[in-house]
Assembly symmetry: D2
Homo-oligomer: 507 residues x 4
């Protein structure tokens, strides 16, 4: 009722997003019996899991191996820390998308000593073969593609509530598991040593709990790490906007008139890719600073109404609602494409198109032609949901960054000395971000320059970093008064900043 922030009480919005993964190869329609109604046994005789079909484990294993090839940073972390077992004793309940990439994360946690029980944060996104492969090696997975809402909560519950095993860490994506435990198992929740939360939604819910004074556990917000943000937004959108449009519509980019609504990081990524491929791009903005950047980057800044009759493609990247209205859709030309790369599915007023005079024709998966009485067709992608989640794939490398960050956050929270973290939500400090970044440089055969002692002294920096203060924006070097500014940062950031001994020790 109150927009983006009114999260479903019973299930998080993201958990029901349709999720089309190019990596989901097999058809799960073969067996219509619910996994809940069947008992399966893995090759070691365990039935401590609930997946679609344990026999798909071998296929899933191969998928995991393929993913490992693009997640060398995480594998490298696994190898460095394997002998120390920094997660020995950790009992982690996880609730994430269950994909080959997540499996690499989970198996890393196991390699570092953790015991894991896992469930899916989305009812559509589970790769059944991967779930089988994890179950086969003994991870207790409760998830399959196409769960009902009831299944969804049943799986979460089964993760948490098992005899003789009590979780002490949470890895969550969306906050559903966290909230289920908070509500149903408050005594378990109180004993959790730390929560690592990845998503915008989940982080928001944690901040709400914290504000209400009900967060009794330290939590780490990994969503806002610089590395993750850059990759999830600018680079990932630059990679996926072209892919999403091509796979759905085979549109030619050259010469196309495109409007990108919103020139934040997502919009910047879309604009850069489209301009590079020969599209003629203009931008709408509400914020004059972003608008000025668009101008300087060579994009005309217009109101949507000025160009609505000419545009070939509209891409929304605002986080706002009703950015494209029915009135505007009425004026678009035949054959134009409308899609959304922003945060919710409300940016395009899709609801307004569900009226009797308009005909919807599903021409491909995720592609609808909405047909006006005069025959005009507007091509709507993914019914206005996120194009890159629905119609393209996310590079494994991007997922590697997130997974590495999650693993490090779990290690830190689990190993932190008493008192380092209070019952609050913490941002990842620069030092950690820098470490995650450095692990990923090997992929590019990039060679970092090291400061000489003299230079480090001149700059007032530790030779191992952090190289930038926490507030550094990565687009405006503010030399010279580093110390002062740091001094005005909130206390909890400062506390956090000083340590991550584990990371330092590993270097």
């Amino acid at each position: 009722k109150t927009g983006r922030r009114s999260l479903s009480r019973s299930i998080s919005q993201s958990s029901t997003d349709s999720y089309s993964s190019a990596a989901s190869y097999t058809d799960s329609s073969d067996d219509e019996t619910s996994p809940r109604d069947r008992t399966q046994v893995n090759s070691k005789g365990s039935s401590n899991f609930c997946v679609k079909n344990i026999k798909q484990a071998e296929f899933g294993r191969r998928e995991i191996e393929i993913a490992e090839q693009d997640m060398s940073a995480l594998i490298s972390l696994r190898k460095r820390a394997q002998s120390e077992k920094p997660l020995a004793g950790a009992k982690i309940v996880g609730c994430t998308h269950i994909t080959a990439q997540t499996a690499v994360l989970i198996e890393t946690l196991v390699a570092l000593g953790a015991q894991c029980r896992w469930t899916a944060c989305n009812i559509y996104s589970t790769q059944n073969e991967v779930a089988a492969a994890l179950s086969e090696i003994g991870v207790a997975v409760f998830a399959w593609k196409g769960e009902t809402e009831d299944d969804f909560w049943w799986c979460i519950d089964r993760c948490i509530n098992t005899e003789g095993w009590q979780p002490n860490m949470i890895l969550d994506d969306g906050g559903d598991l966290t909230h289920w435990m908070y509500k149903k198992y408050p005594n378990v929740f109180k004993k959790i040593r730390g929560i690592v939360e990845e998503s915008v939604t989940g982080v928001h819910r944690l901040y709400q709990l914290s504000k209400a004074g009900k967060l009794c556990v330290p939590a780490m917000n990994v969503n806002d790490s610089v590395t993750k943000q850059k990759f999830d937004n600018l680079y990932c959108c630059r990679e996926s906007i072209l892919d999403g449009l091509k796979r759905t519509t085979d549109v030619m980019f050259g010469g196309k008139q495109v409007v990108v609504c919103g020139y934040g990081e997502v919009g910047k990524g879309c604009c850069a890719a489209l301009k590079a491929l020969g599209a003629i791009v203009c931008v709408t903005e509400i914020d004059p600073i972003c608008a000025l950047q668009a101008c300087m980057d060579g994009f005309r800044v217009v109101k949507l109404n000025e160009v609505i009759r000419q545009v070939d493609v509209i891409i929304t990247c605002t986080g706002n609602k009703n950015v494209v209205t029915r009135d505007q859709l009425d004026r678009m030309k035949n054959g134009s494409i409308v899609c959304n790369m922003g945060h919710s599915n409300t940016e395009i007023d899709v609801a307004s198109l569900r009226t009797p005079e308009l005909t919807w024709e599903r021409v491909r998966s995720q592609v609808d032609h909405v047909i006006w009485p005069d025959g005009k067709r507007v091509i709507l992608l993914a019914e206005g949901r996120l194009l890159n989640l629905s119609c393209s794939t996310v590079p494994t490398f991007v997922l590697s960054i997130t997974a590495t960050t999650q693993a490090l956050a779990l290690i830190e929270l689990y190993n932190a000395p008493e008192g380092r973290y209070k019952q609050d939500v913490y941002l990842l400090p620069k030092k950690m971000d820098e470490y995650v970044a450095s692990l990923h440089l090997a992929t590019f055969e990039a060679h970092l320059t090291e400061l000489s002692d003299e230079q480090a002294k001149y700059l007032g920096l530790n030779k191992n970093g952090p190289f930038k203060p926490n507030y550094y924006r990565y687009n405006s070097p503010n030399f010279g008064y580093r110390t002062q500014q740091n001094s005005s940062e909130p206390a909890k950031l400062k506390a956090n900043n000083s340590l991550f001994d584990y990371v330092i020790a590993m270097q």
Copy 2:
């Protein structure tokens, strides 16, 4: 002793940077008598100034008129506020570069009611004709091109110390005027209502004063406004690196192997421009996050030693020292170019080149050939000082952004109610930044989209902005927990954020 931060006691480093302006047309060598030893009278009979030659006023006036054409945002502010005279009663002493663009600022301050006395922050940068033009209309200017250090302080002193006129506002660039007043005229200093400081150096000195508990006046750090930062770094460097190289060396960019040391905002601007013109660019970095960005942007990240024998051009953008050493210069190939776009003149170890076995040959202004015994020549630009300050021009539009920000900051500090600002250094809030940006959009005929009431409510924003929280990085939209984060910002930012009534009133 402590590197970059150990500023000269007697004169700021920036005040002696050589400053070559393409806009400085006339030769000031005609009259060798020091302006201090001559009395000149303007057409109204006043001699309350000290410039090179008052007769050059007409030429200077034309330069100012030309500058006005590219500073329409500032002119627009002038027109909007002219009738209200928000600076009536303000007595401003200013110490900045004295150029046509500064003149537009000064005349705007005068139009808004202020009285101004002005001096130069750099002994080389004064455009004598502009100084004459300002003096002609009654601004008390004390500055000429080619001052001695003694002249420099004499001019500052004459600005502050005049009978029957006591300044109540400071506009400074580098902090020399501020410190002179602080040391020599502490009683005047205490009565100052506000200081507006533009430079990194000056801001640093203010923070030092503040830290030492000696800042008895509120100060506004305009250096770190988002708009200024973006334009002074990314866009300005993107514009000027090509210009600086061409004007000095006529080098062809296509196919050139370039190393850019440092991938901060300055480095990003240089890399983007050079890559776009066909250079083959690689990057050195110490910070893994910046290095990862360079990789994703398509630049190889190398150590300088790996490529030193192949490179055609080295550009330093680090803020560090000895980034290019004598040892490396020894290994560069014949005809290669070395220059600096970073913060100081220490990035290239120029001192190490001043040894007997090397011959220096000045081939053009700002261009030296350093010749090795075997005949190899390395082309050193601006003796390692800032290339774009020395060898190219800064677009007037960029200066307009700074000048508009300065004018608004002066208005705010002068009009702020008692208690709004304490004796501290304040950052410019988003709201102000956004207002400066919006004034500059007209130049691009950019049209902002306005939020509907419903959208504003959905986003939890005021329809007039600010549209982003203060901590927003302009490269990673953090939707959804705006409120929480704001709540953890330091108090002084919050106070500042809430107001700028003047700006709001004007909209």
Copy 3:
């Protein structure tokens, strides 16, 4: 025996290329009876066709309608010429890919008065539903997806050899139909008024016939029209290289080290797209002029061996053979990708990979992992065949340019007065190219400037074009001696150049 040019005697190479079309939606595996063994009847009672399933006509019709939306230039030609019926009396046999786009061409020919019989130039490429839709409206189509070689020739024969109907025009793609007629029905062949040939292969075979003095019919080489070339090569490859790589491997482009072998038009398109998306691209070349262009465009020119151990992706675009050898494949790193965008499937020495010590694993359609004994995997796409034909789609707009050119060439050859065309192969003159281009400008809402009388006189041009001489390279304007150069062009070009009355009349 002599490589690329030794075309199969019995069936052209291109006719058996695997052809994976994203536009082929339906599964044809439902009915295993050969279409040759079934008699089907369309709704008008005709059974003068042979397709997979006439009942798929409706689905095919929709596909054609969708294609029409992106082929507005061809539709526009159809509308302009419809009343005149310039092809009245034309009996055209066609042998092309049978897709929705070809259907728009065929239906245009029909609308202009022609009768058509059609067959497929490739045994895999037919869209069965489209073939059904054409058959439904009375075009005699003989084609289905998955023909045998015997089927292939049977279909061609049925096209030509039918009672009471003798073809007088040929539209061919690959030359198989032309050669079948030439060999089997020489008397029919002699009465053909003209051949329009689209492909490199087919054009080559025509030139061979002509050289041997056996070409008794005028033929138009539409493959080498400037417009088609530009779109088939530079623009089409720029569009499809990213698509082909993403759909098959989900590879992230940012920071990838890519080698493009060959810097012709195809290589230029690939390089431009990859560089724009953040890949680090270098180039191999044999031709110093192309190599110099690569340098100036910002690509390092290397020998493949210099970089083979570092590269992430190799893309061949040379038209040569064994550009990537087994020895080089042995040295590539784990996870690297090899694919071909060039002219044949011999650029990568794929045969050398079919040895016992290497394991092939098909991981997706068109994607093989070739696994070395030490576990190293090299990812081979489309078994070395053309990536963009196999793994991505060609924009309809590109096909529209070809189709429009084909239609105009047919009209011209059919309507040309006796003697205008001799028994030779003709290139399309600039005038025609310009006309095709102008029909496609509407898509972009591009507005051409018209010459004033004075300007036309000054330039010595007709106001309606042609604007460039036939030899014009579209990358180096040679003003000033147009007349002289034209005078040295071969006679047949001149003859051709002077007319195309039909085009001129239409303007």
Copy 4:
């Protein structure tokens, strides 16, 4: 009256173009006596020259040495051929711009055995110091900066007409020397072995002579070599458009609305550079093929009148006249910039601006403000003459390509066996172009790939090239019917193609 092609009878248009060279460092105003009235003697006692001041020789020598560093290809040719002296006995009269780069060419010719007498093709372009340096080493130079028209012809005459020395080769730029000899010294002209002509104008005049049957000497058109064309147009304009605009106006490119008139190679270079720096560029075109390319490259194609009121910058690149009319200039906005990169100075109707109601104000060298009665200013650069000739510099590397081509053409014509060349104008064959290109690859450390025997056989190519047929467009590879097309080329091209033994011998 008769347009571009009506060349002045008495002096070629190009010879009076103003020519501002950043490389012309010294002021020649010191001595007002005409060089014709003074006798100077070089250090060897010779006075067989006529330059401004022989004492400037040392300064000129340094300029030549600097130029040599960027002309390594020419130096490399000099070294390879020096021992053979292929120009022994050649007596070359040259008429070109006399700059440091030309001096490197002349000294190369001398090193290869030639005797040279030289004069300037432009009355403004001579670098006096370089002319002195050449005279000092014994080249008979007759040229100075600021010649009168009478001086111009006197110098040419003195070059040709000297006792005891009769020229047998001509190197010309513009055709003035050729025509002077043709008219005044027909008997000398008849004995010339070959003419090498660089300019469009000169080539045109040669074709006219040839057409009229009056060309009694073989001539080589080096203007139309692919390498030269690419560099003189696309790359050179890409490099110089930004430079020309910055040096004259300091304009900021970001966000500027620019119209480029004409999308030939010059326009393409301008568009690419400006788009890359953040300008918003649209294009006007008369030719639909070029217009379609502009669309695909991401530029809106408009009529000038559609955008005239919004544009910030107009750049003409058409070769046409009155492309920007007074009527349009009237409608441009205040502060907009108009300049020309095309072929003549008639593209902008500058004459129409010389009316009483408009005020012209010269604000910098080459920069005029044209002021309308209402105060509007339009900034006109170089009075509508070529911006990059007048206001920026041409990279030495570009000049090296031209100079190397000229040297090779001279060698070929001088050494060609009787009968190889008839009395006609010859284009440079691919083989030669490729050789010039290969000499320049060293600058970029580019490594060519060599064909294996097997590959050469497969492609039907000689391993040493030529790699492309003469008609190859460098933007559309036409594989497969190379032989046929070659066979239809005019005889003179074929003849030429077969040889250049000298080049082959050197490889």
